[in-house]
Symmetry: D2
Subunit: 505 residues, 4 copies
């Protein structure tokens, strides 16, 4: 690769943090758990997502809609339609208390309102249409009204509401497209009944259902149904096979996902509502929570390009999910089990966590971008690069030769470099060496916690005529964060300093 | 009432803290929740129970036994019988980390091992016998072996294991007595297979099933089945009627429960194992988690006598339960809803919490006891009294006139008195005045927290010839804690002190 | 007293929170202490002051200016004038981290820059002029520049800088008025050299030195010296006498302090700078940190009127001080010792703390005010009253009969009332009963903490034709907070509720 | 070096943790500081010392002895001799609360009891004899009695009391040897007056004063003065020169310190009290708190041998000091400034901290020891080695070839290796690269914190015939911790595991 030129004073555009707008979560009932909240605190502290989205808000583990279960005479008279906000309040209070807002997915079906018994997942999400749409509307308006009462209108106007999840997959919706459109109409109108300024949208399709976008928007126009946002999903897995505890998948190139985002955007542009925002409300490499890929450095390196480019077409894209506290395929049976999480059990950070935390250091002025690297300028004058080197099969190191016009008058620059790869910031590899303890002891967790820390290098480099030569080598599946700042050298202020007189130095 | 004489130097016996040996909990899966753990921390900090017992350790919400749910080809090969310890470890780690040990109830039936579909409770506890006793034994030995591996033999020898819960009630056990005896035999032997010194027992009956004790112990002797402890339950509710969100009950006199304890003890004494310990693994006033009685001062005052006397016959008796985080009759729909908890939602302490925290101040030398009062001497020389005045229907204040031979040479005694009654330490009454907010705001919770603080009085009293006259009046449903200590007056050491010169004093 | 009429819809003005703008502190070196920081966290959590001001920033316990102490050859070459920011950074970081900004008092004199040896206080504050004004200016610009570097210009522009403390008292300034004016000129110009927008002022006089204001401002005009704010102090003590550990004082009426504020304001108005803000940078009842008055309910009740009226003329007035962590008259020798603090040792809140926390509940719309009461409307629609009943000599209860036009349509109002008086929220009185333990044990501290909690009453009152009759009685030296809000009664939503069926109720 | 043979089943002795018995601290008044307490919490969490010893308990910054400072009429009447325990209680409470006991150094002289004005240190420790020995005795008995009252006799019997510090140096004691002997006699007898079982000793000399031991013990015998322990100090610095902010020193070989310990032991053995315990109450490389050596990896590597061998002759040896919160040569003027601390400012761990934390992993069965390595067996069956490679001048790597008879039946061993050297676990070197920021920002502190983390490697090694070949290379000034445990490989329990099917792996 030839030498790359990056100039701090020549921004080529802006780099908004759409990659940070939203993150996915295991079903909302899990948010009651202490380990979930601990993991979220860690994620918010080091990455800081703006929104969180998960399934099951209306499912029975959150317990909002539940009639007469305790009475032998069917005699309950509760608030409005008998809604129970005990758990949902506890959940939303805890999210907002950690600085993250809900991206509210309205689903799945409460048992008492379901028209059938079809379920999805270990945790038995009922996926059938409501048996009574009037009652469904009362549920939606009751819930949204409660949100406004408890959190205030100003706050709730910032929450997007999404109707259902992946209705294009029979496993997730026991109705057809027309039935979904009906659900959408009823739901969107019920939401707007509370306040017409609350944002609502769909169709929340899986990647294969991207072709729902056009008929969905046409229906909205034709039927004069409110729609404020369009949502769909993206996974870049190709073939899959289950074997024992695991699901193995091969991957499409990452370009695949980027194209999916763009395809969705194009469909919106050509629709009656060309300016609607696009939210990719789920994406990941594999769509299975027992695919070991998720625990690897390769997963992080592979995703680098998507985080870099996804925001060009999507207003948000939401990594599925922040934590391995997740139950779709049963509770995980081991410290690492191929779960979606950025954070593994016991608050152990995976390589992909670090990819996100590295992006969190970037500035909003874009200086340079290619398929393997991104350079930005931060407001404090620091030049920040993230680079990645995914190596699927054989292969090896990648080298970047950069000529960096640093934009500050200084004879030396201070460089800090964080590295995650097969040998650093990689608790999964340490755990493999340790014999894959399913339920690690406190002592073993201390080792894994330590092994999850990225490598750090701090060093100086000379600047000649305003330019710094930065030659970086990335090992296999490495992701690196490089920060370049002026060296503010206070050494001359130390009176009497003479290192040659320090023994052993 | 005539004057009561209490002498610090005339102990009439010892007062062991059997009332503190154990406390009940909502189903074990709830122990994953953050609110549960916060409530437990509060309880342990102010009361400090030694053991905790709850249902559902083997139920699917803890997820220990679960086969092949994720494979489409039934191909899972897991550890031994395929047990999953992810949740149970997290739960037991958190309990032990708060200084409380498990009193392990082995039940209910994992879905994959159940012989039928009969369930109990909102949370759908499967109550049918195992479809395969060999597999059940493998589950038990696998689990207990894991406990020994993770926590050490020394630790696990301190944990009592109890087989099932209330098998005498058809709703809790879809078999007859003989089937339970079979379950017990299989389970007890499976436990002992891991280590013959681990303690195991039963029959864990409800109050009406107390007559199971004799045949149970006779069966053990006849069949040479190990048995280390006897367990049964006690509730003093009489009639009951459900109405809307509530269950109303009338109460037997508290004597009823005390007699139940004694009756169980008598049955053991007359059995082939006369020296076995007796554990009342559940008791409370009402057996319904939506009986408003649990939230009242009356409940606390009523229970005073049981806490005082129960330890005479029971080695432990376990208040059901420590927290309103509980789901047997659905999730509670309001801040107060008649739940069993010592602690209501949002860590608000109920009057009965304070009864227990008052008992936690007692010493182990018994000086005096009657139906409404208990006096002890603590090792630090403080005389500690707890008194209670339950007033079910009309009625009013109670007066205690006590002549207290204090046992220390001091012209004055320092008295601190804590009071809980209808107007103090009573968040429930404040909440009623506030209009019963179902889901209180932070501000309202601040008021409730404040309202839950008992009244405190600190004052001096003269001691004449070593005797202090202590005339105490208890209002309706009051429970009080009185501590009497020598006054160590440092006032004379303050140079120049003259209060008459302080303006406004 | 006749009936008072208060109408929620007839605001008579605004009630800004000038009383909360600033609070005093023991010398700045004490801010390194853990107990100091714990007390400040408590104060900020319940009251939330905006600024904090204390002596000794430049004194040797903060160690900013210190030359060559460690070298035997006088050879130090440090940063600029050799300033050491280790402690000052730690202090300011911790203040800002608790949401409180420094009101920067520039004093006293570093030992190495002092022209003499005269000191004040136990902690030996050197009060002599600088021996070298050039070096003093370098100290000031070096320090202020460092503030701008570390905290940013935007932040530092919010910090007022005050030159010295009480230069009108020979004990605090070993120079005359002219020498102070010189110090002021040199200092103000040094501050402005860093940034002309940074605010600086004086003359920081004690109450007796209020007549310095006019010549000070005339000097500023004549000499074209920058001045952005005027500062002076106020204490309402009259006679004083020392006896042993204590200083006893008699009090002027509180009117005295209010008049002092107004007098200072009048002097500014008549000066060449009539619009300058006025900051009362210290006030309290007694000016001695061993006057037991500070620990009493009377102190709180007495100050009520000043908190209510002081903001009419002063932009800020700063209670001296927030905590008993204070060393001017040696380290306190007992849990209560007459210190200035709102918070006594070991984080025990005094009655005056509660006066401030009660004011922190007020709204900013003024509905009514007299010498003993203040009524406001808060943005959330709650009417909030604070009332006080200081009784210096004999005397007794005070009664307020209020007709409250509540301004909301509700048949009932919810009233919460917090009370501090001789028997409630009064740890000092409990401590006296306990025999004044100088160094309480943890157990005794638990009692004192409990005794410091104000009494709370929560009850409903009927509203007739929009008016509520509120008849309040305040016992001797009581301060009360009353909040009146619409009763939102959810009781009818509870299905099946019938309290007559709850035993004991 | 030839191959070293280490056998897990052939212990050559025991390895007691005398190195962990005690640690030094900056003057006791500093223990009031929040940063001090934070650093101590870190040290206790990762190392866990048993005792802590520092100067200045009786100095004015703790304020125990102070007469009449606040009265203008000399009229104070306080408790006994007028002692003030406010600060000492706060300090001792906080130490004990962190699981560390005081090793009580009784010194220096309170200002009000001093016979002269000679001081030592920036913080002005008065080093003159008492002006009134009767008053001194009252101070000592008053203080020790207070300790017994507050903490209980059982606890105080565990605290050693040491009389003064380095009386053999004129700077620390303004009297001669005879005057010290008098002070010792008066003090020891005053301590024993409170309880004859409390332990007391001396003479607390600096290394050069080791020859005081013999006359001191002879004096004790002759005069029948109680003595329970012997204390002295050890530093291995040779030449020294001050330059600007720094003191440079050359080092004796570490053997020098080991010989000093042995020499002290020999003198005790030959004395009239041959069995007294020996406590080295201070030791370090350089005796200056501005010697940059303390911040280096060399310091850690150099000390390895002393930690390994010191316990052979000393019952405790106390590293001087745990934290850079220290004021003998003024407050440190930079993040790193050559201070004694294991922990630098802002809780940054130095290489020597890690040497101690590595030792904290050792077992108590000694398997092997030479000048550069130590191997032990821990109770859990893990073999633990610490090795060090100090390289003063030129030089380089060291290699250890070890044949390890592991003592457990396993075909593979799991090895974890922690490394500190010039490039790892070395915040000082990162800080140098960063331009030595004197007062780092939060962001810079994050980098330093990260840079202070030791390198971790986790890997497996084959075991042949019970023997593992462990070839380790230590870079210049490295200290390593190696743990060798049986590999418990759970990999075969994972159903369907096939890593070749994970993309990118």
């Amino acid at each position: 690769m030839g030498r790359i030129r990056v100039s701090a004073d020549k921004a080529i555009g802006s780099f908004p943090d759409n990659w940070r707008q939203c993150v996915g979560t295991g079903h909302m009932g899990l948010a009651l758990q202490e380990e979930y909240q601990n993991a979220l605190a860690l994620v918010q502290n080091e990455i800081g997502f703006n929104y969180i989205r998960g399934h099951g808000l209306l499912s029975d583990s959150v317990g909002i809609y539940r009639k007469n279960h305790w009475s032998q005479k069917d005699e309950y008279v509760g608030p409005g339609p008998g809604l129970n906000f005990t758990y949902v309040d506890r959940i939303f209070d805890s999210l907002l208390g950690k600085g993250i807002r809900p991206f509210v997915e309205l689903g799945f079906m409460p048992g008492d309102l379901a028209s059938g018994t079809q379920t999805q997942f270990y945790w038995k999400a009922n996926v059938t249409p409501p048996k009574d749409y009037g009652e469904w509307r009362r549920l939606i308006t009751g819930l949204v009204s409660h949100f406004v009462d408890r959190y205030g209108r100003e706050e709730v106007l910032l929450w997007p509401f999404e109707v259902w999840n992946e209705p294009d997959i029979p496993g997730f919706w026991a109705g057809d497209q027309q039935e979904y459109f009906k659900l959408y109409r009823e739901t969107a109108r019920a939401v707007k009944e509370v306040d017409p300024d609350i944002q609502v949208g769909g169709p929340a399709t899986c990647p294969a259902g991207i072709n729902w976008i056009t008929p969905f928007l046409e229906m909205c126009e034709k039927e004069k149904v409110p729609v404020d946002l369009v949502t769909t999903h993206s996974y870049y897995a190709d073939k899959w096979e289950s074997a024992g505890e695991y699901m193995y998948q091969t991957m499409h190139p990452i370009r695949h996902s980027i194209d999916q985002f763009a395809d969705a955007r194009r469909r919106i542009k050509e629709s009656p509502f060309p300016d609607l925002p696009l939210h990719i409300t789920e994406y990941n490499s594999s769509w299975s929570p027992r695919c070991p890929l998720h625990d690897t450095a390769y997963n992080a390196a592979f995703l680098g390009r998507l985080l870099s480019a996804g925001g060009d077409t999507a207003d948000s894209f939401s990594y599925w999910t922040f934590s391995d506290v997740f139950e779709e395929n049963d509770v995980g049976r081991a410290q690492f089990h191929g779960g979606f999480g950025l954070v593994a059990f016991n608050n152990i950070r995976k390589p992909t966590f670090h990819l996100f935390s590295f992006f969190a250091h970037l500035g909003d002025k874009l200086l340079y971008r290619d398929d393997n690297m991104l350079a930005t300028l931060r407001d404090d004058g620091t030049i920040v690069l993230v680079a990645w080197n995914p190596v699927e099969k054989p292969g090896g190191d990648a080298t970047f030769d950069i000529a960096l016009d640093i934009g500050f008058p200084s004879a030396q620059a201070l460089i800090t470099r964080h590295t995650v790869d097969e040998d650093h910031g990689n608790a999964w590899n340490a755990w493999r060496e340790m014999g894959r303890p399913r339920y690690p002891s406190d002592y073993q967790l201390g080792i894994l916690e330590h092994a999850s820390v990225p490598r750090l290098e701090v060093f100086r480099a000379p600047v000649e005529n305003g330019t710094l030569k930065l030659d970086m080598t990335l090992s296999r599946n490495a992701v690196i964060l490089v920060e370049v700042a002026p060296l503010k050298d206070e050494t001359p202020t130390y009176g009497g300093l003479d290192e040659s007189r320090i023994p052993g130095y």
